[in-house]
Subunit: 290 residues, 2 copies
């Protein structure tokens, strides 16, 4: 399946070059735990999406690497905290022991905290561009990952406090995963200084992509193989989670995914990006095996 | 004992006005847990220090409230995570049940995560000033609270990995508490656009204040009353923590505190701030009962 592998390699190479501890003999152990989780592979969908958006706008992707890396650091932090015993209590992630299994619960909490801090430090000190635009973009990144974004969505997930029915399920996922996927596009628009109606198609595309990602995620938790998922299949059901599959059945969820994929492709066609990368990501998210 | 109570009220009033959840019926419960810990009282030393620095430089303190509030949000987040069962496992803080006792461990982790995110969101979207200077100041705030600051110091504390002896103890506390206290001064200098040799005295003062704060904290854990501390005395010893008292004895720690107080006052006299607030804070930190 076509995927912007060139952009993924660019991200991977950049992430591998990051060092978090200034004093190896003092805080090096913490930096090691952070890199253990950060460098566990994966498709790097969010940062690749950010770079593909930059390319779609005709910009040099290299200029956006600090932002893209910050987004992946934040995503990794969220996975570490979601896996904790007090949260989902998961032992495996991408076929390897989760951070708290490998390093202890206290170090895992701090590795997550540290990744979040270093994400902000990195983008605030390395991102090139108009300072006012960078402020706005990083403010959006904080909003997308705070109470009205990722952390709020995770709260709904653990607290079972999500509003009932399909709208509640959609809201949970908009917050938990949709906002950060959306921000991967939005922050690039902001740094590029693009706003107003011209960018509405990009924004509609990004929002739909977040929905599509989550529907497919819920389907894969039922239909994927343990090997491809890197963790035992069926964990949503074991955790009693409300998913698109539990709400609409497997066939219903598949129909929703097909509709969502169409909508995302339509919005993208309206945005009319340069290059095929955003189409490739959209199709990949729809048809990925894990 | 004189304390800049006017500045403290300004901070308190501003913090009380903060709302974190945009949708009360969705994420209001998380916002409630965050406000429970944020509005538990205290002297608000860090934000008051930031405002006092602004006044020392002859600036309007109100302009710095978004930064000051962000610093207190971050401090609160660090207390919530430090108190977790996997960390210090403390049940009481300021005479009330800790966040995880009141709201559960999962919600407490997310309340900390949420406070950190909302701190960045708030200062990035509300702080007035030259955008390039705000970027630099918030970048310093992220650095001071990341792997080479607060989170790194907490790692040394839980991991018992601190380098041995007095220098190691000092490094642990420089990272864990000193950097954020220093940042409360440093970020104001940055937003005010002050740099170069003229600000060295302020920086020296801020660094020494962090040291003084921690020595006195260690002494109070041995000599304070449960009532004044808001938690049982002697928790450092029960947790097997290395402190200035365990390292130098109570008399030795008191001598160190007196020396540190002198140094801080000397550096402050060189900085020659307008107004008595920074002197009051310095003396308060030295002589406070809890």
């Amino acid at each position: 399946m076509p995927y912007p592998d060139e952009l993924r390699r660019e991200v991977e190479h950049y992430l591998e070059g990051l060092r978090f501890s200034d004093e190896e003999e003092v805080t090096g152990g913490l930096g090691e735990a952070m890199r253990y989780s950060l460098l566990a592979g994966g498709k790097r969908i969010r940062p690749v999406l950010a770079l593909a958006t930059a390319r779609g706008l005709g910009r040099d992707t290299r200029e956006l690497l600090p932002l893209a890396a910050a987004i992946e650091l934040i995503h990794t932090y969220s996975l570490i905290h979601d896996d904790l015993p007090a949260m989902d209590d998961d032992d495996l992630r991408r076929g390897r022991p989760t951070c708290h299994v490998a390093f202890g619960e206290d170090v895992a909490i701090l590795a997550g905290d540290g990744l979040y801090a270093e994400a902000f430090r990195h983008v605030l000190t390395h991102q090139v561009g108009e300072p006012a635009r960078i402020l706005e973009a990083v403010g959006e990144l904080a909003a997308a990952t705070g109470v009205n974004g990722m952390v709020g969505g995770q709260y709904l997930d653990v607290d079972r406090a999500a509003p009932a029915g399909a709208p509640g399920l959609r809201r949970l996922h908009e917050l938990k995963t949709g906002r950060l996927i959306g921000a991967s596009v939005e922050c690039v628009l902001l740094i590029a200084g693009m706003s107003g109606p011209a960018t509405n198609s990009y924004r509609g595309f990004a929002a739909e992509l977040g929905v599509l990602f989550q529907i497919v995620d819920d389907i894969l938790d039922v239909t994927g193989t343990d090997d491809a998922l890197g963790k035992p299949r069926g964990s949503d059901e074991r955790h009693g989670k409300r998913t698109y599959v539990s709400e609409f059945g497997l066939d219903g969820a598949r129909e929703l995914a097909a509709t969502s994929h169409d909508k995302a492709r339509t919005a993208l066609a309206e945005a009319d990006p340069a290059g095929p990368e955003l189409e490739q990501i959209t199709d990949f998210i729809y048809t990925r095996p894990s």
